[in-house]
Amino acid sequence: MIEVTNLTKKFGDFMAVDDVSFNVADGEVFAFLGPNGAGKTTTVKMLTTLLHPTSGTMRLDNIDPVADPEGARRTFGIVFQDPSLDDDLTAWENMDLHGVLYDVPDVERHKRSEELLELVDLWDRKDSLVKEFSGGMKRRLEIARGLLHDPKILFLDEPTTGLDPQTRNLLWERLRELNKNEKMTIFLTTHYMEEADQMASRIAIMDHGKIIATGSSESLKKQTNTDSLEAAFLALTGRNIREEDAGSSGHAKNMGRVWQGGNRR
């Protein structure tokens, strides 16, 4: 469903994504695990036509997002890491606009919007402007909106950051259902180990723009001789730092921060 070969993105001298290759099978739940600035979001942005890669090829359901961005956009839905709601619209209007833009038929759109707003406990506030919402409420609305339509592939970029445990559990439950019933392929990035551990059938660990290990949680533990994913993660990312000389690694990290700061605008 997702094929990525030698994908690279450079911002000036900084290698945000460095020669990354991976495949995600149809109906699979695939997780990108990595520290901040590892290149997870940049990879998702390239896959979702928001950024052009420096080199490498990608396929979403056999469509090249560079050559046919519009075709690629029809295959996926995405929940972004940072806010992407319209603060001047109400919760309901945000849902409705999203449903229209994503071709959800009228009857279904209204039904599902109501159902999802109930689910994230925002139905009472559906006619309030989003700018009156707290951070947590906005995040919940964002998740509800992301689940309004059934794309073939759902990208979730650190979806649970800033979510309360209740909503987090709701989200995972819902995602499991979608994955099972609709055979939806799910691509998520996270830095919560237990999330990747529970949800993903395969995990790619990313650091400094490179994928340093791929496999199921079990195989990653076996590979590193550890008994938890966290220990495996630390073993892998730790080893990676020792492989590079300290200077350039520190530099890359700083560049990563500069880039992230600039990106947030």
């Binding site: 942005k45 950024l51 961005p69 029809r74 319209d86 603060d87 001047d88 209007e93 606009l97 833009l101």
Partner: protein, 248 residues
């Protein structure tokens, strides 16, 4: 079409809901009508005649300052994230751009009509009431031109700070050199050249022909309209082109 309509509607809602902005956008033409209409008019002698000359210019002014906001809205949406939501939607990005731009252009046209009504309160009367409808069409062409120009600028900039500079160095000169406030006779050649490539010149001229029949050039309504149609289409295409290229 439905998607374009929803994006259009979003712009209209945002325009109507932003009360401080609405107030500011209405205060500006009122201040100009008072300051120039009374102040300038009396120092030049024929007070009411100057209002007849001024009113279409002020309508044009309020339109461009509202329409150019489309650019700020692109930057704003980029900064606050909503732009991404539309950029990954399964639709051509040019449709996204058209919906947004048409929405802002419609808002700017409404603004123009409201300012025209305000100018009635100051004593302005159109030469014929039947000319109001074609005048609104001209207002929409001006709105579309500048809303698209705003989209071009907004697609190229990712920084709010740069936007006021654009307003100062592009929109202010375009406004002053359009003949909205004073006749353009006796300008140095280079300034008169700039005024001739300024689309607002043709917009204000057309509004004058239709509404006050005073102080217009001898270009004629036909030429004015053709120039406005061509430039608005040109900027819509240019806006679509640059909007397509946005990376977030």
């Amino acid at each position: 079409m439905k998607k374009i309509y929803y994006l259009w509607l979003r712009q209209i809602k945002k325009y109507l809901r932003s009360t401080p902005r609405l107030a500011g956008l209405l205060a500006q033409p009122i201040i100009f009508l008072v300051m120039f209409g009374y102040g300038f008019g009396s120092s030049f002698g024929g007070g009411s005649n100057y209002l007849d000359y001024l009113a279409p210019g002020i309508v044009g002014m309020s339109i461009i300052f509202t329409a150019i906001f489309s650019g700020l809205e692109v930057i704003w949406d980029r900064q606050f994230g909503f732009l991404k939501e539309t950029l990954v939607a399964p639709m051509p990005r040019t449709d996204v751009m058209i919906g947004r731009t048409a929405g802002t252009a419609t808002a700017a046209t409404i603004q123009g009509v409201v300012v025209l009504i305000i100018s009635f309160l100051f004593g302005f009367r159109p030469v014929s009431w039947g000319a109001i409808v074609p005048a609104i069409f001209i207002m929409f062409l001006i709105s579309l031109t500048f809303a698209s120009l705003g989209t071009v600028i907004g697609s190229l900039l990712d920084d709010m700070q740069a936007f006021p500079i654009i307003i100062n160095f592009l929109i202010q000169p375009m406004f002053f050199l359009s003949g909205a406030l004073f006749t353009l006779q006796g300008l140095p050649d280079w300034l008169s050249f700039i005024s001739r490539i300024d689309p607002l010149t043709y917009g204000v001229d057309a509004l004058r022909v239709l509404l006050s029949d005073i102080g217009h050039t001898d270009l004629g309504l036909g030429i004015d309209t053709i120039v406005l149609v061509v430039t608005s289409l040109f900027f819509v295409f240019l806006g679509g082109y640059f909007f397509e290229k946005i990376q977030v």
